[in-house]
């Protein structure tokens, strides 16, 4: 697993990529591009159980646990939210529950996207981060029961 990157390493990569942009338009065009490229979630996963509620946009999130690591898939009806999701998945998917639980996700603030985590946007991203951590907590608990 020598090519495995830690959460901090991936966060640094993203921050570096964003340092190339100097206008909001450029940043968002990049995020929108990521959003368009995010593979769609299979329809069978787009059910209420997987819905992360936000006021304006909807996010569906599913998680799998394999060999001690958590894998996420998600989608949203907003392209910009999809772009943000794509970055969160890049950072958190394939990590261990412990690392996910303790991730501070400072890259969001460093790339100037904190507004999307603010309550006012209520766009589901904040709930999505919480939900990702909840999955990690749940998998960790389940794991400690079975081992």
């Amino acid at each position: 697993m020598s090519d495995h990157k830690t959460i901090a390493q991936i966060e640094d990569e993203i921050v570096e990529e964003f340092s190339l942009f100097d206008s909001w338009d450029d940043k968002y065009e990049y995020i929108i591009d990521l959003g368009k490229k995010l593979p769609p979630l299979e329809d069978q996963h787009k059910i209420d159980e997987n819905r992360v509620r936000g006021c304006q946009s909807t996010v569906w999130l599913v998680a799998d646990y394999k060999d001690g690591r958590v894998y996420f898939k998600a989608e949203s009806d907003s392209v910009i939210v999809k772009g943000l999701i794509s970055m969160l998945i890049r950072v958190l998917s394939g990590q261990t529950p412990d690392d996910i639980i303790s991730a501070k996700l400072e890259f969001i603030q460093k790339i100037g996207m904190t507004t999307h985590l603010a309550q006012t946007r209520s766009n589901g991203l904040l709930s999505m981060v919480k939900q990702m951590k909840n999955y990690a907590v749940a998998f960790k608990a389940k794991n400690s029961l079975t081992t």
């Binding site: 206008s23 909001w24 968002y28 065009e29 304006q56 946009s57 907003s78 392209v79 910009i80």
Partner: protein
């Protein structure tokens, strides 16, 4: 590119803009274009000054002290009541109750007049386009009283179907509560006719005038509404202060809602006798500062004149409607010709939130989402809209910026 004439609809927009300091600020490197006026309008300097002046020179609790500051504060507070009485032509100053806003005003009616007069099997009528503030209090009341909530349907243009209202209204109807103007679409409702019809069966009518106050002339005696609710912050005044107008004979008969200071005449542990109108409904220390600063907002609207405001805003609305309609994929929600200056629209395959974010990157403030009208959005089978709402200080140049922003956003997002 269109330029707003120095005089538009009979008013000098550029001179008016100078009275609103926030319009000079930049957002993300662009001059602010503020098109979220239906959510709350910006405040002219005189309103801001009144707030500062109150706290700087005569802050005191009202109605209680005999000292100079208390007298000055009481006089300024009561002056707003007089100005509001004139503004809506109430028959007396005691018909003007201060509340925290439209929501508070509607709740007050629901839980005083409503609780007193609605019984099991009675009906309350609202419309399909109501704001949640004019839905939820009635639902709570209906549940409590086992009464029924009836909803007047609308057509595809977002216009209320008066014939359907005529079918709904009956001797069971106790309260009709409708918005004068839709916040989500700008559509103007036939409240005059609704009031007349409701009175024929003995029902009382509450008009939610939150969106009408800054645009339409309102004379409560001529309208003959029983109650009227409004918020100062949607008519160039401060937040946290609103009005409940009620006909005197109704207010006098209504039970009190909140107990506390100011609303009493005499209190013993056995019994309290209540103060007279309007004070019996204003319990506790009120929002003195914002009430005082509401008066200059009323003065501002009076000075500019609602007719002139409406005429100018209509120029903006017509221009924006024509320009946005011409963009491929754009559909106007509430495409009625009887509207105030609210333009709500959806764009094929584009989420309103994405559009709103990209407009914000250009300094353009619009509202996206359901506008607190989820039943209305369900009626149109959409999750939400993008809404641009115009005020007296907006210009045609700003609309060109909006149109360019929408065109660019569509390109980026599709």
């Amino acid at each position: 590119m269109m330029k707003t004439a120095a005089i538009s609809g009979g008013l000098d927009v550029y001179a008016i803009r100078e009275q609103f300091p926030v319009l000079n600020r930049e957002v993300k490197g662009h001059r602010l274009v503020y098109f979220d006026n239906a959510a709350t309008t910006q405040k002219p300097q005189e309103v801001i000054d009144a707030l500062v002046n109150y706290y700087t020179t005569y802050n005191a609790n009202i109605h209680r002290g005999i000292h100079t500051l208390a007298e000055e504060a009481t006089a300024a507070y009561e002056a707003t009541r007089d100005a509001m009485k004139e503004f809506i032509n109430a028959s007396g100053r005691e018909e003007i109750l201060f509340t925290s806003g439209t929501t508070d005003s509607i709740n007050t009616v629901a839980f005083t007049y409503g609780r007193q007069n609605v019984q099991e099997g009675d009906e309350i009528i609202i419309s399909a386009m109501e704001h949640h503030s004019n839905i939820v209090p009635w639902q709570v009341l209906c549940e409590e009283k086992k009464a029924k909530l009836k909803v007047i349907p609308i057509n595809n243009k977002g216009e209320l179907l008066f014939e359907e209202f005529e079918k709904l209204v009956s001797s069971k109807t106790k309260i009709v509560s409708v918005m004068y103007v839709s916040n989500a679409m700008g559509v103007i409702n036939p409240v005059r006719e609704i009031i007349k019809k409701a009175h024929e069966v003995g029902a009382v009518v509450l008009v939610d005038a939150a969106q009408a106050m800054a645009h339409l002339d309102i004379d409560v005696q001529e309208l003959d509404c029983d109650f009227l609710a409004l918020s100062a912050h949607k008519m160039y005044g401060p937040t946290g202060i609103g009005v409940l107008y009620g006909k005197k004979e109704l207010l006098n008969r209504m039970p009190v809602f909140r107990g506390g200071g100011e609303m009493i005449k005499e209190v013993t542990f056995e019994k309290t006798t209540y103060n007279d109108l309007p004070y019996k409904y204003e319990a506790g220390t009120p929002n003195i500062a914002d009430t005082i600063a509401f008066k200059p907002a009323i003065d501002f609207v009076n000075r500019v004149g609602k007719k002139a405001m409406h005429a100018h805003e209509q120029v903006l609305l017509d221009y924006a409607t024509e320009k946005l309609r011409a963009i491929k994929g754009v559909h106007i929600v509430g495409d009625s010709t009887n509207k105030i200056s609210v333009l709500s629209f959806v764009v094929d395959n584009i989420h309103p939130q994405d559009l709103g974010i990209l407009l914000d990157n250009r300094g353009i403030a619009v509202r996206t989402g359901h506008h607190c009208c989820q039943p209305l959005m369900d009626r149109f089978r959409i999750p939400g809209t993008t809404r641009a709402s115009f005020a007296v200080y907006n210009t045609l140049e700003e609309i060109d910026l909006l149109v360019a922003g929408v065109e660019k956003a569509i390109k980026t997002l599709s």
